[in-house]
């Protein structure tokens, strides 16, 4: 059963629509019918619907102003549920069966918008209104003004649900990118394609042909649209051409890189399975022909914003391409001959037309009335145009009843993309318009402009211009291809920007900027074009003022007594039209937001029920909960106590590893570490501290000397990349002739820390050689084999403070090794521990980590001043000796514990004297790391304290105004557990 829908009362004959396909859609819940090839706007207009939205500020009733992507007014919400999308231009939204659209920015119904009261208050809501009015009292802004303004203003609403669609990114390469598939673009693509080069032809429209689809002109004595279709078909057959309809080139970036958004599925109710909704293409091209056409500009007059008033060319497009009469009675208001072309086309379609031409001399019309020297002074019609008021040449007034008014103030070449590299368009007196700056350096490199975008407005000039542009830009030899015959009418125009009057005349309809606002901006001294833009918001809406800017400039020029080129233009920036955030993100969202790196023991850790934490891109086991444990602290405390009591194991693969080889390897490490490495014996490991050149600590780790010319350096997990980059900088840029090679081997080796008094007993069962304390003492390292022959590396180093080893095997054996270690340790109750227990043990031991190496601390702050060798040059050594970094009373790392052992110390809290004020002036330092120590049975922390080394035993206060904590603490050594290091050496 077909739902009842109204007839398409304003549908005409002809056009490029598919009348065989009937599509049903809804607008604000009401059902309508349209055809394949319609846009939402053309289908609504065919059904007699001119009112499509409410304006941003005054909530004025609005309808479409254009038939293209420059549309400022007809913004609607498309679809519903998860796919609801606000601020979609009805003039470009392709109709599909079942399309749901809703008007937006209204309170109540579209025809009775309660916020239309703003329109009555328009005398107050002028430019700068918000800046001037909502300043006092200050507290009102956040609580009252802003929420109310946000409720009243704004455009469509978001669904606030997860976008169900997939977006892709892609890369394309070509010799020539042609932007725009009108007459110039088609000829450029054809000329280039026939020469054999790789061509991409992109057009934002779903039907290629540009204005040829919207005109009654002929090319080679056949309808222009037919020539376009034939040419597109020829191009489609060529293997070296990629046609990209529904693709908006959004920006010209550096070195021949263009961004383009292809709307793969927006013309469907939902994307087909396995298809993305949109694709962001990055197109690498050697040359570009910009054939983006031109945009007709309006004339400002009183109440020029009623639904039914649009550019004359839009009326023509709706009639010729879509077979739609906006109304059966139309007026044209023009200052140029092109307005008469619209009149003739409409008249031929049976629409009754009257033309008001501001010029005293007008072209001779055969079959419609022309009022020479007439101006539109006002319009009527609450929800859509009903009457136009004219002032005739003799000063008399006339009322004309009509529902459509086409305005033509001339055409602006679409120079947007020519300005993306800061090019400034040039004023052309003949066209009274800005044209691309074709002087050397004026355009993005490799770009040529053709057709109407270049100011060549006739069809013949566009066709020839396209062919010539392709030939020139590709440096092709030989004769021009044959140029088809087409009209070649000159531009005849009398610049005319506004009809003077007392009422409101709109310039920027989307942001509700009127002539009066521009006048006010001038009066108040905001006269530069950039100030005008920001004070009035002219051109700052989602359409970037494509139809509006020039009118504002012209009026400002008149007020300032300057010419339009003297006033200048604002800068055009990408994107050319609004882009969905989703397509910029592509597939990089949710789990795919960044790469996920898994440790070699990940599968095993999952089997153990580990809780994971993201560390950089890594997923590391944070703790391993056991049955019965209800809080993370229970698990972590158990892991710490088990490790200190017997033995624990932890995957430390994520620490950065850099292999350093070469005859000068030791000398190289001497350069990058502040402490010395030249005398480190083979088979020994040493702790190393790296400084930045400004003397601040950068990173720490160990360097193990496996051979005279071979070291393995470790870095912290977080700095693995930046330390490697820094080492390569030193190697290539500072010591280019050192015999040393670096390679990052972080992923090549799976590494586990085995720590605790029973660690040796466990590893004795794994490692194929003697690892007794004599054979393999503290800080020893060696290439070994494990499990009967597998090559491995063994380091006797300890982060936990226990007797500990780190053992590394090739990554592929990591999973097998952890299982062997667990099996070997079973008799000792070996306990896997995660990053939390690791952190607790290093705080108990007073080892610095990322919280301490935080980019503001020096070796002196860290209590490692003596490590900075004065006997050799190293990065950062000179500046580390600066007076400012060597204040004896400066920050030193200390331990602190709560005076009342039951208290918990918050990390990030600040230290203050036991009594006295709590403020920045009395700040004594801060807590860098804090935890509960299961070994000691109370909370502990590491802190940086002024003159800290000399204040052990003092009582201070820890304060955290953020969390409301203030408690007494005692200063102590940062080495809470085994300060003598006996356990390490056991």
């Amino acid at each position: 059963m077909r739902m009842k829908t109204a007839a398409q009362k304003n549908r005409l004959q002809g056009g490029q629509i598919d009348r065989e396909t009937e599509l049903t859609f809804t607008f604000d819940g009401k059902r309508y019918r349209g055809h394949g090839g319609d846009t939402l706007a053309s289908a609504l207009l065919a059904n007699g619907v001119r009112l499509m939205g409410r304006s941003f500020k005054y909530h004025r009733p609005r309808g479409p102003v254009s038939a293209g992507s420059e549309e400022p007014n007809a913004l609607v919400e498309l679809r519903s549920g998860d796919r609801q999308e606000p601020n979609t231009r009805a003039t470009t939204a392709e109709l599909f069966d079942g399309l749901q659209a809703r008007s937006q920015n209204r309170l109540g119904s579209l025809s009775f918008d309660l916020l239309a009261v703003n329109d009555r208050l328009s005398n107050f809501l002028t430019a700068g209104f918000y800046y001037k009015t909502f300043m006092w009292p200050k507290a009102f802004w956040e609580k009252l003004y802003e929420p109310v303004i946000r409720r009243a203003a704004g455009l469509g609403s978001l669904s606030l649900r997860e976008d169900p669609d997939v977006y892709d990114k892609g890369f394309l390469h070509c010799d020539l990118l042609v932007i725009g598939a009108g007459p110039a673009g088609l000829m450029a693509a054809l000329t280039a394609a026939r020469s054999g080069v790789d061509v991409i032809l992109a057009d934002e429209d779903f039907r290629m042909g540009g204005r040829l689809n919207a005109e009654t002109l002929t090319i080679d004595a056949a309808p222009a649209a037919d020539w376009a279709a034939r040419t597109v078909a020829e191009l489609a057959d060529l293997p070296n051409v990629r046609l990209m309809p529904r693709t908006t080139v959004i920006g010209a970036f550096d070195h021949g890189i263009y961004g383009a958004v292809e709307r793969v599925s927006d013309h469907l109710a939902a994307p087909q399975p396995d298809k993305p909704r949109q694709i962001l293409w990055r197109i690498y091209t050697r040359r570009t022909v910009l054939a983006a056409g031109a945009i007709e500009r309006p004339i400002a007059f009183q109440n020029n914003d009623r639904p039914g008033i649009m550019t004359a060319s839009a009326l023509r497009t709706y009639a010729n391409r879509y077979g739609v009469a906006v109304d059966r009675r139309a007026m044209i208001f023009t200052n140029n001959d092109d307005g008469h072309r619209t009149a003739a086309d409409l008249q031929a379609k049976g629409i009754k037309v009257i033309v008001a031409d501001v010029r005293p001399e007008t072209p001779r019309a055969l079959d419609y009335e022309v009022l020479a020297g007439a101006q539109v002074t006002d319009t009527m019609g609450r929800l859509g145009l009903t009457f136009v008021k004219l002032q005739l040449a003799d000063g008399s007034e006339r009322m004309v009843e009509c529902g459509a008014l086409g305005v033509s103030g001339g055409w602006n070449p679409n120079v947007h993309m020519t300005c993306h590299h800061r090019g400034r368009p040039q004023w052309n007196e003949r066209l009274a318009a800005f044209v691309p700056d074709s002087r050397p350096g004026g355009l993005p490199e490799g770009m040529t402009v053709a057709g109407a975008a270049n100011g060549d407005f006739s069809t013949a000039a566009a066709l020839e211009g396209g062919a010539r542009a392709a030939r020139a830009v590709l440096d092709l030899r030989g004769a021009l291809p044959e140029i088809p015959k087409a009209e070649d009418r000159p531009v005849r125009l009398q610049p005319f920007w506004q009809v003077k009057g007392a009422g409101r005349a709109w310039i920027d309809q989307q942001n509700d900027v009127t002539v009066k606002d521009v006048t006010l901006s001038h009066q108040e001294g905001f006269r530069s074009v950039e100030h005008l833009k920001r004070y009035t918001t002219l051109g700052m809406a989602t359409d970037q003022g494509k139809t509006a800017n020039i009118g504002g400039l012209a009026i400002m020029a008149e007020l300032a007594g300057k010419s339009i080129p003297e006033v200048g233009t604002t800068i055009f920036r990408p994107p050319y039209t609004p882009v969905a955030i989703g397509v910029l993100g592509g597939r990089h969202r949710g789990q795919q937001f960044h790469p996920k790196r898994l440790t070699p023991s990940h599968a095993w850790a999952q089997e153990q029920g580990a809780v994971f934490v993201e560390v950089g891109n890594w997923l590391r086991a944070q703790w391993f909960p056991r049955t019965g444990e209800t809080t993370w602290r229970e698990s972590v405390d158990r892991e710490v106590l088990a490790t200190r009591g017997s033995v624990g194991v932890c995957d430390v693969t994520t620490l950065g590893k850099v292999d350093v080889q070469g005859a000068d390897a030791a000398e190289f490490l001497n350069r990058i570490y502040c402490n010395g490495f030249a005398k480190l014996p083979v088979g020994k490991t040493r702790y190393g501290l790296m400084l930045r050149e400004d003397g601040i600590a950068m990173d720490d780790g160990t360097a193990a000397r496996l051979a005279e010319d071979h070291f393995v350096v470790t870095t912290t997990t977080a700095n693995a990349l930046s330390v490697y980059r820094h080492m390569e900088f030193v190697r290539q840029c500072l010591v280019p002739d050192m015999d040393v090679q670096l390679i990052s081997t972080t992923e090549a080796w799976a590494q586990f820390a085995v720590a605790g008094p029973k660690a040796r007993r466990v590893l004795e069962k794994i490692v194929d050689q003697d690892i007794s304390n004599d054979a393999f003492p503290f800080m020893a390292c060696a290439n070994v084999t494990v499990c009967g022959g597998l090559r491995a590396r063994l380091f006797r180093i300890s982060f936990s403070g226990e007797l500990a080893y780190e053992i590394a095997v090739p990554t592929a054996y990591g999973d097998a090794l952890i299982r062997r270690i667990m099996a070997a340790g079973a008799e000792f109750g070996i306990t896997p521990y995660g990053t939390e227990a690791l952190g607790v043990m290093r705080i108990e031991k007073g080892h610095a980590a990322g919280n301490e190496l935080n980019g503001t601390t020096t070796a002196l702050n860290l209590g490692m001043a003596r490590m900075v060798s004065t006997k050799k040059d190293s990065i950062g050594a000179v500046l580390s000796r600066r007076e400012g970094l060597n204040d004896p009373g400066g920050l030193r790392q200390v331990g602190i514990r709560p005076a009342d052992r039951a208290d918990q110390i918050p990390a990030g809290a600040h230290l203050m004297a036991a009594t006295g004020p709590v403020d920045a002036a009395h700040d004594q330092g801060y807590v860098s790391s804090a935890c509960y120590s299961p070994t000691l049975g109370h909370h502990i922390a590491l802190a940086f304290l002024k003159n800290g080394a000399n204040r052990l035993g003092e009582t201070l206060r820890v304060v955290s105004p953020l969390t409301g904590v203030e408690l007494a603490v005692e200063v102590c050594s940062p080495h809470f557990v085994d300060p003598e290091g006996d356990r390490l050496r056991a």
Binding site: I257, R422, R725, C733, V735, D737
Partner: protein, 95 residues
């Protein structure tokens, strides 16, 4: 942007990491009398010209070469790309 790597040919700038002024190659002599002042200038005082600039780029997602790229900061035009190691040698650095 596209950087014409001396060994690998044209590569997209997204493969690189940027580190600014190539004057960082000219690390002062730590033994010199005025070393403190020279290092202060080296570490903190950099030119930030509107126009041609020699700067360091690291081919992090590539062959790990440090490059000296001569780039116009106003137009992003690149006039020369060299291996930083060659530049360092030509500036008298050795080991």
């Amino acid at each position: 942007m596209i950087i014409d790597h001396p060994l690998l040919g044209p590569r997209d700038s997204s493969e690189f990491t940027y580190m600014g002024d190539a004057a960082l190659i000219d690390r002062p002599d730590p033994e010199a009398e005025d070393a403190a002042q020279a290092f202060y200038e080296y570490a903190y005082l950099r030119d930030n010209p509107a126009g041609w600039h020699r700067e360091l780029w690291f081919h992090e997602a590539g062959d790990r070469s440090w490059l000296v790229v001569t780039r116009n900061t106003l137009t992003h035009e690149i006039s020369n790309v060299e291996l930083a190691r060659d530049v360092a040698r030509s500036r008298g650095r050795s080991a």
